[in-house]
């Protein structure tokens, strides 16, 4: 199997990141936004893992940070879902555009 090198992985990471960002910016559903966030986080994870594989200096750090991000993502999902639930309880919707009460 030919080794593709670092670049395709980074491209994949960037693509995933762009998809995630687009998802956050475009989705009105709060759960969809959360999914976008997961995509962004995983795009970062792809980068970490790829770097751990191809950059000798990052061999250990890359893997550790990937694990850290997974844990972080879990925590983030828990908190975000709790917020979404509460928001739903108060507003009977999960449309993020309705959550605009913090405007100037």
């Amino acid at each position: 199997m030919t080794d593709l090198g670092l670049t395709p992985y980074l491209c994949l990471g960037a693509f995933l990141f762009a998809c995630g960002l687009l998802c956050i910016a475009a989705k009105r559903n709060a759960v969809g936004v959360l999914m976008g966030v997961e995509l962004v986080l995983n795009a970062a994870n792809v980068n970490f893992v790829a770097c751990a594989r191809y950059v000798p200096k990052f061999a250990l750090e890359g893997q550790v940070f990937a694990l850290l991000v997974i844990v972080l993502a879990a925590g983030e999902a828990a908190v975000a879902l709790a917020i979404i639930l509460n928001f739903y309880n108060n507003h009977a919707t999960v449309d993020v555009d309705r959550a605009d009460e913090l405007k100037g």
Binding site: L21, I24, A25, A26, R28, V33, V96, D97, A99, D100, E101, L102, K103, G104
Partner: protein
């Protein structure tokens, strides 16, 4: 106390000056306490007691008695002082004399004092000389009698007053307030007289001015009174501007305001300044006197000042305040260069003639007297200007007595006729109010210059001085002719006044119903009448230059007399003046006494001239057009510039329409702009999380792009 006074008897004058001030403060505190206690008038307690103790709902008469007592005591002290002073003035040496009759103390000091450069300091002090002693006695004495007269004249003010002159209002009486201001006025005037420096004179000068403002505007519900008060105050400010310039020059070049120091420097070294500045300084100080003494061209305020109560007219506008200007000219005499003296003489001559012509046709009894006052002040200025220092100030003293008498007499007439002031509506009053009529006749005789009345001595001296001056320098002949003609006019308008008021038959209901005033008002008339006759007497009685008062004044004459006062023309001037007065008297008798020919016919024949005089030479219109209107227009213009078109409201901010045509508009535009900007910036914080993310993303991209551009 006695030994304290014996050591420096001059302090007697300080005490006499401060007495009216004490009365003023007592009345002020009493009045304030009464106002403070008024809300508690119906709840029992000390405040209620105090309120009713201080007079309750009506002004308390005892305040007026207190003020009258204070000024009467001042008058008594001033006479004691005068007697002491005259007794000592011949016997004691100059140095000791100065020590006993003059003192001064530092009032305010700026900066440290050392030998090389003395600190800037202002002083307070008094200095009694013959002029001060006589003036002080005159002012205190006349004031005291005017206070007594006021006790009766102002009696209406103890009750609630219905003011229906122009405004229909009911107001509480102002008996206390009247005496309050009158007391403050007396203090200011007396302080002005004893002051030994120009600065103290200036302070008193302004105090006198502000008291005059309060008293002229005493009936401030009436528009006319309010306007007259403003006019008096503002016209006086014009003069005071000159006075300030004079003061500044004195301070710059002499470094002191003390009269004695200034005169000493002048006598030893001459004016310490360029000649033109010396002249300007003299003109400046004289301008202040022009304002205060109502000389041409600032004479317009005095006749309007007749809006005040009549005792005020007598006190301020006859006897004392207007005398301040003449007094200062006399006091600061060495400060006037010969050119300035000539200016003084011409100002006086123009004023006396102008005012007398206007007085010929006035029909309001107080206005006739007001113009006669202006005219007589012109005589004094003329006397001082042509070098007759004694003559001018002697006329000031004698005039105070008979003019106060005439004004109080007119007050008595007005009181008796239920506030009727128009001469054509009087007549025949001599049967109904004999005391007033005959005391006023004495005043009329005195002012007309009838021999052996006080006015004769002083006027004769002025005229002889003027004649001497004019003969010496024939180009100034007008200085002699104008007063001679005016002497005739004086007799005419004064007798016209007397005939119209007191002779013939009553011409109105008010005159028919007239009654003599109570003794509290007639007694001052009698006393003043006695003084009007004999205050200037001397021996021999028929020689005006033998006047005892004149000799006393002569001793206070400052420095060497620069003016020309030859005595050899005395009799011719006296005869001419007498002739003119007799002609005036004869004409008045023919027209108004025996009605040989009808004044109405004369009026019709001289229609244009009559209207011109009746309108007071159109001075009011002239000043109105020259100064008042431009000032008002300028005020309106500035206001328009300042005023905004409409207050900016929410709608306006929303529409963002800005009106920058005025100052307020510009300021509003600034505010409005900030508000609009804030509104725009607020929109950035939309609360929409998706928008935040988008912006964040775009900014990140932009920053990366920037990095690429910069580093690539």
């Amino acid at each position: 106390m006695v030994s304290w006074l014996l050591a420096t008897p001059g302090r007697l004058y300080v005490v006499a000056t401060l007495l009216p001030l004490a009365a003023y403060f007592l009345l002020l505190v009493g009045g304030c306490l009464r106002a403070v206690c008024r809300p508690y008038a119906h709840s029992p307690g000390f405040a209620r007691f105090l309120y009713f103790f201080l007079g309750g709902h009506r002004p308390l008469k005892s305040g007026a008695y207190l003020a009258t007592g204070a000024i009467a005591l001042s008058a008594a002290l001033s006479i004691v002082g005068l007697v002491n002073f005259l007794g000592e003035s011949d016997s004691v040496s100059t140095i000791e004399f100065d020590h006993r009759w003059a003192e001064r103390t530092t009032w305010a000091q700026v900066g440290p004092s050392d030998a090389a450069r003395p600190a800037v300091q202002l002083e307070l002090g008094y200095r009694i000389d013959h002029l001060t002693a006589l003036m002080f006695a005159m002012v205190a004495f006349v004031s005291a009698w005017i206070f007594v007269f006021s006790l009766g004249y102002m009696a209406d003010e103890t009750e609630e007053v219905h003011e229906d002159h122009e405004a229909h209002v009911k107001r509480p009486g102002r008996y206390g307030r009247f005496f309050l201001f009158l007391s403050l006025f007396c203090f200011s005037m007396l302080n002005l007289l004893i002051a030994d420096n120009l600065f103290q004179v200036f302070i008193s000068w302004e105090l006198v001015g502000v008291c005059s403002f309060f008293l002229i505007g005493f009936y401030h519900e009436r528009d006319s009174a309010a306007f007259a008060a403003n006019k008096a105050f503002i016209v006086n400010r014009v003069g005071d501007a000159g006075f300030l310039i004079g003061l500044a020059l004195v301070w710059t070049y002499f470094g002191t305001f003390n009269f004695a120091d200034i005169f000493a420097e002048l006598a030893t070294r001459g004016p310490p300044m360029p000649e033109h500045l010396f002249v300007i300084m003299g003109i400046g100080i004289f301008l202040g006197c022009v304002g205060k003494s109502a000389q041409f061209p600032l004479h317009t305020w005095l006749p309007d000042a007749m809006e005040g109560p009549t005792p005020v007219s007598a006190l301020i506008h006859a006897a004392t305040m207007v005398a301040a200007g003449v007094y200062l000219v006399g006091r600061a005499y060495p400060l006037f260069a010969p050119e300035v003296r000539l200016l003084i003489a011409y100002t006086g001559a123009i004023t006396l003639f102008l005012a007398a012509t206007i007085a010929l046709v006035q029909t309001d009894i107080k206005r006739v007297l007001a113009y006669s006052t202006v005219s007589q002040l012109g005589f004094m200025m003329l006397g001082l200007g042509v070098g007759g220092w004694v003559a001018g100030l002697l006329h000031l003293l004698t005039h105070a007595f008979f003019k106060a008498l005439l004004f109080l007499g007119s007050g008595s007439v007005i009181y008796g006729c239920h506030h009727e002031q128009e001469l054509p509506k009087m007549g025949g009053l001599r049967h109904r109010m004999p005391v007033t009529a005959y005391t006023m006749l004495i005043g009329v005789l005195a002012i007309s210059g009838t021999p052996f009345f006080s006015g004769w001595y002083s006027k004769d001296m002025i005229l002889s001085n003027a004649l001497g001056f004019a003969l010496h320098d024939t180009e100034h002949m007008a200085l002699c002719i104008l007063p001679l003609v005016t002497a005739g006019m004086t007799a005419f308008y004064m007798f016209r006044l007397w005939y119209l008021a007191f002779a013939g038959e009553p011409r109105s209901h008010a005159a028919e119903e007239a009654h003599e005033s109570p003794w509290v008002m007639t007694l001052p008339l009698v006393v003043l009448a006695i003084f009007s006759v004999c205050v200037a007497w001397g021996w021999p009685l028929w020689d005006p230059h033998a006047s005892y008062l004149g000799h006393l004044l002569e001793k206070a004459r400052p420095g060497p007399a620069h003016g020309l006062a030859p005595d050899d023309t005395t009799h011719s001037a006296g005869w001419l003046a007498l002739l003119a007065a007799a002609a005036g008297f004869g004409l008045a008798t023919l027209m108004y006494g025996v009605r040989k020919f009808d004044p109405a016919v004369v009026k019709a024949k001289a229609g244009a001239a009559y209207a011109f005089l009746r309108e007071k030479w159109h001075f009011d219109e002239l000043y109105d057009a020259l100064f008042v209107r431009p000032a008002v227009a300028l005020g309106y213009g500035t206001a328009r510039f300042d005023k905004r078109a409409a207050p900016p409201d929410e709608a306006e901010i929303a529409d963002q329409s800005v009106n920058v045509s005025s100052l307020d508009g510009v300021l509003n535009a600034l505010g409005l702009g900030t508000a609009i900007l804030g509104r725009k910036l607020r929109e950035a914080q939309s609360g929409l999380i998706r928008r935040y993310v988008t912006v964040l993303m775009l900014v990140a991209v932009a920053l990366f792009a920037l990095l690429v551009v910069v580093y690539a």
